[in-house]
Amino acid sequence: MPDETTLEGWTPEIGGGLTLEEVVERAFDYRGNVTVVRTDGAEVEGYLFNRCGDVAAPFVELFDGNGDGPLTIRYAEIRTIRFTGRDTAAGNSYAAWLRAREAAKKTSGAPPAAGA
């Protein structure tokens, strides 16, 4: 995954060629919190860690913002999913660390903090 690619901030509208299944799949791959918008307008924010699309009533599972759960939400109850939380994978590659290290060496001689 290139550093620059992140879905952080994405607020997809289902329809026009974009299916809910596709958005669920992206949310499952996403390393940050998302906000699931239900068909009744209610919202729940959390980490979507699982989805099961090949059963009679497909569902997603998530831990909410407090880490409570797992909550199970059926696809049929979901209007869309917004990518609201920070993408914890973005910018954390080894290559990015090497670049940061070189830059830090040039300026101060000190290595960057881990994960920088």
Partner: protein, 340 residues
């Protein structure tokens, strides 16, 4: 090989029992991840990239033990995150040892001295600290993205050995690894007095943020051949001879993804420790409903194409060791002659 005889016997007896029962798929090592939190942030590690509420969470000892019972594997590896940050690590290890499970506690060893001094663990043939060591000082500190960690890990290893614990090392190798430096590293670890070493190529799993520095298959064969050719007799590896030979390109094994099933706060991970394609709520469900035919090199799955990682191929090697006279003979010969 440096695996103690009692452990080798326990694993051999387990494999034979599975075969006598006609079980085609059985687990060898449970990968038990009680938490994802870590006190390091190594580049290339996808295990720690979660939002804060997930990093704060951990499994209960009861959840861990239930998973161990469900799975039934004779060995339990506890990676993470950093398992020494798990508040219940002492009680968990005690319970596993009481159940005669061979436990590999995989740690970066930063907290090892402190936890040993606190009396959290007792030496046992069932417990081994498997210390993350990605090379000599320069290579290791670079891999873990922090200066000084190599020395901390060495201090932890010395302390554990002095207290009579079993200690092994686990090393993940990436593109650019210098085979000569690795041979020096093997010497250094043997000088330290560790029981054995485990080595494996890294894997470019889809959620890992860094793809470029992972080894491709042919390069991996070349690297391991240069690193392990004419091995010194004093080098001890805590893994199967056939797996090391596979890394050198001497065997054409297929992956056994169910060999090292993974359990964490999300459930039973499909299909393996590396790929996260979903979760099952029980071990039985994992085994029954995962589409195993979609994984492994021969499946044509892109994600598996270059994978040679120990969690997929070590179980294959162990199976081959005990499944045929040829496998057993090869292992015995390598053990007696010290040749790979």
């Amino acid at each position: 090989m440096s695996v103690p005889l009692s452990q080798m016997w326990a694993v051999a007896a387990y494999v034979l029992r599975q075969r006598l029962r006609g079980r085609r798929r059985y687990p060898l090592v449970l990968m038990l991840e009680p938490l994802f939190r870590c006190n390091l942030a190594c580049a290339g590690c996808g295990k720690i990239q979660y939002p804060p509420q997930i990093l704060r969470k951990h499994l209960s000892v009861e959840q861990c033990l239930r998973a161990v019972e469900e799975c039934g594997a004779p060995m339990v590896s506890i990676p993470g995150g950093e398992p020494l940050m798990y508040p219940e690590i002492g009680p968990l290890v005690r319970e596993l040892v009481a159940r005669k499970k061979y436990v590999y506690l995989c740690t970066n060893a930063i907290l090892l001295g402190e936890k040993l001094a606190a009396g959290l663990f007792e030496p046992s043939k069932y417990l081994s600290f498997s210390v993350h060591m990605d090379g000599l000082r320069a290579e290791h500190d670079e891999a873990v993205c922090r200066e000084g960690v190599f020395e901390e890990a060495v201090a932890g290893i010395r302390e554990a050995l002095a207290r009579g614990f079993r200690v092994t090392t686990n090393t993940t190798l990436f593109e650019g690894t210098n085979p000569l430096r690795m041979r020096e590293f093997f010497d250094a670890m043997m000088d330290l007095g560790v029981e054995g070493m485990m080595i494996s190529p890294g894997y470019s799993y889809s959620k890992a943020p860094d793809q470029e520095h992972f080894l491709r298959r042919q390069r991996a064969h070349e690297l391991f051949s240069r690193m392990l050719s004419h091995p010194k007799r004093r080098w001890k590896f805590n893994q199967s001879t056939l797996f090391l030979q596979f890394l050198m390109g001497k065997h054409d094994f297929e992956c056994t993804p169910w060999g090292n099933p993974t359990y964490n706060m999300f459930g039973w991970q499909r299909p393996c420790y590396l790929l996260q394609e979903g979760y099952a709520s029980s071990f039985a469900e994992l085994m029954a409903t995962t589409r195993w035919e979609q994984y492994g090199q021969r499946s044509g799955n892109d994600k598996c194409r270059d994978c040679m990682v120990h969690c997929g191929y070590e179980p294959t090697a162990v199976h081959h060791t005990f499944a045929s006279w040829r496998g057993l003979r090869g292992t015995v010969v390598a053990t007696l002659t010290g040749r790979l």
